[in-house]
């Protein structure tokens, strides 16, 4: 068992830096969201902020990339997003087409640059 999970230290890290930081927001949302009506003005603002924070997470991964993605030049990462968007629109808002076009440009470009 200890080999499967790792030592107690790894488990403490998971709970303190992984589980609690996420669950605290979900449970606050549950506590707070219980009292809001479907279609209220507050909910429209909350949804706009959720969308914008998500956009920030997307931008962070592209602008300040983690791990192996950091080895891809910035211009190529931005080109991948633009190509993905063109594919998404061309295929009448298909997520699959968008993701594939973006990936083709990223992988093809990186392969071509070496």
């Amino acid at each position: 068992m200890s080999e499967f999970i790792g030592d107690w230290h790894a488990l403490v890290i998971l709970v303190v830096a992984g589980v609690i930081p996420n669950q605290i927001w979900r449970m606050l949302g549950l506590w707070f969201g219980g009292g809001i009506d479907d279609g209220s003005e507050l909910l429209i603002w909350v949804r706009a902020v959720a969308t914008a924070i998500l956009a920030g997470v997307i931008a962070e991964i592209v602008v300040q990339p983690p791990g192996a993605l950091a080895s891809v030049p910035a211009m190529l990462r931005y080109a991948s997003v633009v190509a993905g968007f063109l594919g998404f629109m061309a295929a009448r808002k298909s997520i699959f087409a968008g993701v594939m076009s973006g990936e083709i440009v990223l992988l093809g470009g990186k392969w071509w640059l070496g």
């Binding site: 992984g18 669950q23 902020v49 968007f85 997520i95």
Partner: protein
């Protein structure tokens, strides 16, 4: 395809759960999640975490970007406290997501404790799919449906975490980069497809553009700053249009 709202298929809670579980085959996000979690499993392996740890993280944290941030900050030598702060900030988005999902499922009989598992399962994918699937599900069966859809996605991601962990050593860097790029692309287009209201579209575009500006402040809560500013401007646009 889901049965019509009036169908007797929806009378049973268990069957509603089943329709939710089966709906994982009706969304391209399942495929994207699978590939993303392959990457997370591989990242965990390369950062010397155990398989059990990686699986527990997928089950208990249940948020892809948070797991990527957790593993990569710890792997780069950050302290627990630094990692906890980075993850806490990225997870703030879960709060408004849970808040906006709750009213879609509530009936006069619903107690808060009935929604705990829904709150846990809420992450980007489920949030996006709620807006797509729930109008086709009778209100009193929505909790069961989301439990089914959520557990289906958990099964997919646990499988992918284990597979990625096993494949890690064989994953070429080019492929690893491609997998990490899946998250922003899939998040972007699934949100874009769901943005029907003008306020959602403005929030998405402004949120993307304002982040690099907020990042220059280097506050540690840059995402929160750009998100609240962009979201509030988007709401302002909505109010202005409603009055005009």
């Amino acid at each position: 395809m889901l049965p019509p709202l009036s169908s007797p298929q929806w009378r049973s809670t268990l069957r509603s759960y089943g329709w939710g579980f089966r709906s994982v085959t009706d969304t391209v996000m399942s495929l994207v999640l699978f590939a993303t979690y392959l990457g997370i499993g591989a990242l965990a392996h390369d950062s010397h975490f155990s398989l059990g740890w990686a699986l527990a993280a997928t089950l208990l944290v249940w948020a892809g970007p948070a797991q990527i941030i957790l593993i990569s900050t710890l792997g780069s030598g950050a302290t627990i406290i630094q990692a906890a702060i980075a993850v806490t900030v990225s997870a703030i988005r879960l709060f408004p997501m849970v808040v906006s999902v709750m009213p879609m499922m509530r009936t006069p009989e619903t107690k808060r404790r009935h929604l705990i598992l829904v709150a846990h399962l809420t992450a980007v994918t489920l949030w996006v799919e709620c807006f797509r699937f729930l109008p086709q599900v009778p209100r009193d069966r929505r909790i069961a449906f989301i439990h089914g859809l959520g557990s289906g996605l958990v099964v997919i991601c646990m499988t992918a975490t284990a597979a990625g962990f096993g494949l890690a050593a064989k994953l070429p860097p080019l492929l690893a980069a491609g997998i990490l790029m899946l998250t922003p692309l899939a998040f972007l287009f699934s949100t874009a497809r769901n943005s029907r209201e003008l306020s959602d579209i403005v929030a998405l575009i402004l949120g993307l553009l304002l982040f690099p500006l907020a990042a220059m402040l280097d506050t540690g809560v840059d995402i929160l700053i750009s998100g609240v500013v962009a979201g509030s401007i988007a709401y302002g646009v909505h109010r202005y249009r409603a009055r005009a």
